[in-house]
Structure formats: structure tokens, C-alpha cells
């Protein structure tokens, strides 16, 4: 046993901290003056950050069932904050993107939380914040990679729903971070 690998002790401590993290997220949500479903705000934020996405990919990104994302999208559409555009390459799927109204709402709400966070982290350096962001990002990558591994090897073949959505989620994040989003033109409709 070398001392380098992640130990059960270390992971036990991390587990306890994940509970803290859940509490922090809850507290931030509560402090947020946002007139709408809070789950929807996270969706707006992602669309604002990463550009238009397919509903299934968004479901994978947020680790929720496709039906849940479908409902959230419908809700935000009713509020006029997002719109669906047909996928020219596949008549079954849709791309979802912010409307101008949705962009405004997203920017206002995000600005508000961001300022709250800046105030909260008054004694943090930007490097420390970036370090935390980086480690969380890596945690998610590790999780996705682990599930990809588990999906390749194990007990006979699976349908692949979960893994596909999840692995794609990581991809979406990465491309979005490097600015590749907002590709794919709109129309060429078909049915819908």
C-alpha cells in the first residue's frame, strides 16, 4: 500500500464534505431572488454558458431523467425564456436555446448569485476559487469515466441509456468550455 492512492479514510472525509456541499447549494438557492423554479435557473445558466443543447443531453448533464428535463423545458418555454428549434439532422430531437427574455433573466439571476458568492468568498484568492472549481470538474470527469469503465466491462450488454447521456454530458461541457457551442444553424425544418 503506497500512501498516494485515494484511501477509504480520505474518501470518507470527502463524503462528509459532499453533505456540506449539498447544504451550501441549498443555501445559495434560497438566497436567490428568482421568480421561477430553481431547477429551471440551472438550466437557463447552462444554456447561457454553453449555447443550445438537445433535451437528452441536458438530462444527462443534470443527471435527471429525460422526462424530467422535458417537463422543465416545457415550463421554461411557457414562461417565454427558452425556445425549441428542430434538429435538421434528426426529426425526433430538438435543440433548446434561450430567448432574448430568457437571456436577460439568466444574466440578472446569475449576476445576483455571482455577487453573493464574491461577497461570501471575501477571504479567498481567485486562485483558490479556481482550484476548487478545477477539483469539482475533475471529480465529475472521474465519475463519468468510472461509469464508462463500468459500462464497458460488466454483466452482459446494457441498453446504454445512462452511460450515453452521461458520457455525452462530459463532452458537452468540454466543448462548451472551449467555445465550440452555438454551432449548428437553425432551420431546414421538416415536420414538428
Amino acid at each position: 500500500m503506497e500512501a498516494v492512492m485515494a484511501s477509504e479514510e480520505g474518501c470518507g472525509e470527502l463524503l462528509a464534505r459532499l453533505s456540506d456541499m449539498g447544504a451550501v447549494i441549498k443555501a445559495l438557492k434560497r438566497a436567490l431572488p428568482f421568480t421561477g423554479p430553481h431547477a429551471g435557473l440551472a438550466l437557463l445558466a447552462t444554456l447561457h454558458r454553453c449555447g443550445e443543447q438537445r433535451i437528452g443531453d441536458l438530462a444527462g448533464l443534470f443527471e435527471v431523467d429525460l422526462s424530467v428535463m422535458s417537463r422543465q423545458v416545457a415550463d421554461l418555454r411557457d414562461r417565454g425564456w427558452i425556445e425549441r428549434v428542430p434538429n435538421p439532422n434528426d426529426g425526433r430531437s430538438w435543440y433548446v436555446r434561450l430567448t432574448p427574455d430568457g437571456t436577460r433573466v439568466a444574466e440578472e439571476a446569475l449576476g445576483s448569485v455571482r455577487r453573493l458568492l464574491v461577497d461570501t468568498l471575501e477571504d479567498w484568492t481567485d486562485d483558490e476559487v479556481a482550484e476548487l472549481s478545477g477539483l469539482i470538474g475533475r471529480l465529475r470527469s472521474s465519475l463519468d469515466a468510472h461509469r464508462a469503465r463500468a459500462a464497458r466491462l460488466p454483466r452482459t450488454a446494457r441498453t446504454g441509456t445512462v452511460q450515453a447521456g452521461t458520457v455525452q454530458a462530459g463532452t458537452v461541457q468540454s466543448t462548451a468550455q472551449t467555445g465550440t457551442a452555438q454551432t449548428r444553424a437553425a432551420q431546414t425544418v421538416k415536420g414538428h
Copy 2:
């Protein structure tokens, strides 16, 4: 503007990662073979780690309303995993602690997630895991401190419910980590 303080850019990035963290937590919960309410497992874990606690303190620790914690405690009590003991110093409040059955359930479930985490973090060093744990813990401390600041200064006095619960939460965690938990003897009952 020095370059050290936490910037809006850095906090915006962290915000996006918090969403990732929410997804990770959801995924871990789902992967968990636990026959019971998942919110309850977090509660068992805390009692196992920190020893007996008052219901109100647990509510603050998890950032939920007292009524929510009361219901969760009742549920776990119905399952025989926790029990309440009267607080000899205050007839209104109760301490909650694991039963032997609850201890077993908690250890089994926690061991399972811990092993999953060890597998997932196969390319992390123990130091990196500790670094992430530390930063998350500090994030929570900063949030609590910020709310304590906000509660001291602002718009007239408040009742203090939120702050009290929250600040105490931090205290509970710290003492527990240094092994001070499991203090306070049981009985001397009164009414109940």
C-alpha cells in the same frame, strides 16, 4: 483591483461547477443500494460521524426547516435506526442518536459509497482528495461566516432562527471532527 481577491469570473466558473457537483451527488445517491430514504442516510451518516445531536441543530446542519428534520427523524425512528433521548437541561428538546441497528445500517451503506468513491477516484492521490475536502469545508465555513456578518449588521434585528442553527452547525462539525462528540450523558429524564 489586485488580482488576488475572488473575482466575478472566478465565481461564475465556480457556480457552473456547483451544478456539476449537484449532478455528482445525485449520481452517487442513485448508485447507492440503500433501502430507505436517501435524505435519511445522510442523517445516519452524520449521527455516526458526530454522535448524538439535537433535532434543531441537525436541521441547521442540513439547511432544512426544523419541520423537515422532525419528519425525517420520525421516519428513521419508525425504522428502528435512531432513537430520541430527552435533553436533561431542556425539556423541550431531544437528542437523537443511532441505535445498534442504525449503526449497522449506516456502516454498511457508508462503506458501500466509500468503496464506490475509492474506485471512482482511482487516479487521485489522497492529498488531492483531502484538498477537495478541505476547500469544500472552507466554502461552507465562508458561507456561514457571511451569513453571520449579514445578520449582525443589517435591516433591524431578526429573530435569529437561521443564523443560530447555521452557526451552531459549524461548531458541531468542528467539535465532532476533533472527537468531542458523544459527550453529555443520557437520562435524568423529566417529562416527555
